[in-house]
Symmetry: none
Subunit: 369 residues, 2 copies
DNA sequence: CAGGTAGATGAATCCTACA
DNA sequence: CTGTAGGATTCATCTACCT
């Protein structure tokens, strides 16, 4: 399946994985020959020591040599070099997607703009099940960023607006996508049962990208092919792919994986819409949005108890502080308490359950789903 | 309310709006004097076919290609200049938030890193009610990006982890925040009923930023103050603010707006505390005070291991002697161990964590304080 | 087989006071 | 400054195994 580059045409490399460094390989590919590039470059994570979960198990970080750079300047040189080759081999109406995290995406985005690409959207992959922040020192890093750009300003590009709208229950697809990370059977393991690649992307992500921004028969090139998610999904969806990958182990896995793919089957499969029953609303949200004021008093069901709202969404009652549920339970001497129906706020002399405010927020959220 | 900068201290500018260009104004402010900077810089770039310089003057009479290059270079110079001043006036343990869209955020992020700031998170503001993409040519641009960065790698920074967790109904706050855009009564209109500022940010967004990353009494500076959302929320939450704004019309609106703000009472802005902040209690204290007797046996979590208390507050286990943490870690073969939750003592046939005794000591300490 | 529980794991820039 | 040691810290999901 490994192919050889041929000047002028893509004969011999279509639907194959080319061995080698992506910059050198792309140099041998003909100009203006590729419809879409999907790139998942090294993130330059700069991990220092070890990290342990609260249960003392060790977190397996990305320690591979391919993610090590001397510094930002080194990383920038690398980025600008591969982007220049991408721009050369892209057709005039072609486009690029790049995925990254805060470690690298700002540098990639600036380099894209400097190279003359024209950003069409940045898209947020919201991870349904991200790894938590174990030490409680930052926000859960729960997303990654994709940039979608055309070859230059004003260039035509492919975008299947209606298909994406259909995929999104009939409303316009937004720039934030909720998708689970790649786990379970989809995650490729090696002979030892260890993950074969540290950063395998979910097929659902590539499904959406390729469906939205290519036509059947188009050529999709991935310069950091890894275990071949891009190739597998391209093949499923009836697109051609070209993979470039340095590591023989990754190439072998990708080849076997793609050989098992049955094209067109995916098109008949309805997409997975992860529907949540009732979106959870934090009580703190009511405070943040000004529906309740910090310092405002809430009355219990029956009016026997009072508590004061704090800015972080906790309550202060007599001798007790905590969530609306905790404070309610404590004041009632009950094992548990539904704070949403227990607590009431006063408006125009009437006591109104705070659950009314939750319904209001849910209505807004439903509009965005 | 407009203040005058004073070398060495912030006297005279605290809780005021300074007129002028933010770079020049910051130059007159003392170094290492500000706890937090929140910046909503101009996006600047090629909106509706017009090109603006950072000072908002129109760029005219240049070719498009030259324009674009000049545009980015100009914007970068401007960005790096104001970031350099921010870095100078920030306290060593201070931090910065910047908000932007794909037009500018990649350049800002790269400039932050180049200036030596250390990115802690990028945070996605998911707009509950974004403007749809009317032409159906792209994804609905439904988010903006914020970058949170400390002054340099390894610097301490303020983060009220527990408060944010409380605000999010007891689970860790993620990096994607769903909040409505600024509309309705919150949106400030001018005499004509037109919106007074094109990009007024919602107070809920600032509420979360300021609550999470400052302490009451801290100084929050906003170099692109606009109609003063940062100042209004800072005042509500018992923080000081410094605004910098060029446009007299915006300054006037902001002053009136902030004058109307009623700060929340002090009790309501104290947030859920962290265990880290509680006074340290030595295990030996429990022995000294007779809560545990020398020679008494402790059982591990799960009951598999035993150890004996010594008079000096160390433990003796199988083949090991040391602190409650060291002995626990050794017996479990773990890199570390919290002895307070690991070890249990026996009372009336029940195993009780020794942490209960620590709570008892802390309560006594609080009462006598 | 259904149902419940325990264990594993994911692109991570993940501590800090005190000697 | 560095080194040492106290002790604080996790969510959603999938697999394996047990009753």
């Amino acid at each position: 399946m490994a192919g050889t580059a041929v000047a002028g045409t893509l004969d011999g490399v279509l639907d194959s994985i080319i061995a080698g460094d992506c910059i050198e390989v792309m140099r041998r590919l003909p100009a203006a020959s590729v419809d879409l590039v999907f790139a998942d470059p090294p993130y330059n994570l700069q991990l220092k020591g070890e990290l342990h979960r609260p249960d003392n198990s060790r977190v397996e970080g990305v320690t591979e040599a391919w993610d090590r750079f001397a510094g930002f300047a080194d990383y920038d040189r690398f980025t600008r070099a591969w982007l220049a080759e991408v721009r050369r081999i892209l057709k005039p109406h072609g486009a690029i997607w790049v995925i990254g995290s805060y470690h690298n995406i700002f540098r990639v985005g600036a380099a894209l703009q400097d190279a003359g690409f024209w950003i069409l959207n940045d898209v947020i992959w919201r991870k349904a099940n991200p790894m938590p922040n174990f030490r409680g020192k930052r926000f859960t890093n729960a997303h990654e960023t994709l940039i979608w750009a055309s070859r230059e300003e004003g260039a035509r590009y492919t975008f299947h607006y209606e298909a994406l709208k259909a995929l999104n229950d009939g409303v316009q697809m937004r720039s934030d996508w909720l998708l689970p990370i790649c786990t379970g059977h989809e995650r490729i393991k090696d002979a030892d049962g260890q993950k074969a690649h540290p950063t395998q992307k979910p097929e659902a992500l590539l499904h959406r990208v390729i469906l939205a921004t290519t036509n059947p028969g188009d050529v999709v090139l991935d310069p950091f092919f890894g275990t071949g998610t891009t190739g597998a999904v391209a093949r499923m969806l009836g697109r051609h792919f070209i993979g470039i990958e340095r590591e023989p182990a990754y190439r072998r896995i990708a080849e076997e994986r793609i050989a098992r793919v049955r094209p067109f089957e995916a098109e008949s499969i309805t997409v997975q819409g992860s529907k949540r029953a009732e979106p959870r609303v934090a009580f703190g949200t009511l405070v943040e949005r000004g529906l309740l004021r910090p310092g405002e008093e809430l009355w219990s069901l029956g009016g026997r108890h009072k508590a004061k709202v704090r800015a972080d969404g906790t309550l202060v009652g007599r001798d007790v502080t905590g969530s609306i549920h905790q404070v309610g339970a404590h004041l009632e001497g009950a094992p548990s308490c539904n704070g949403w129906t227990y607590w009431h706020f006063r408006r125009d002399g009437c006591l109104i359950p705070i659950d009314v405010l939750r319904q209001q927020i849910r209505a807004e959220m439903a509009a965005t789903h």
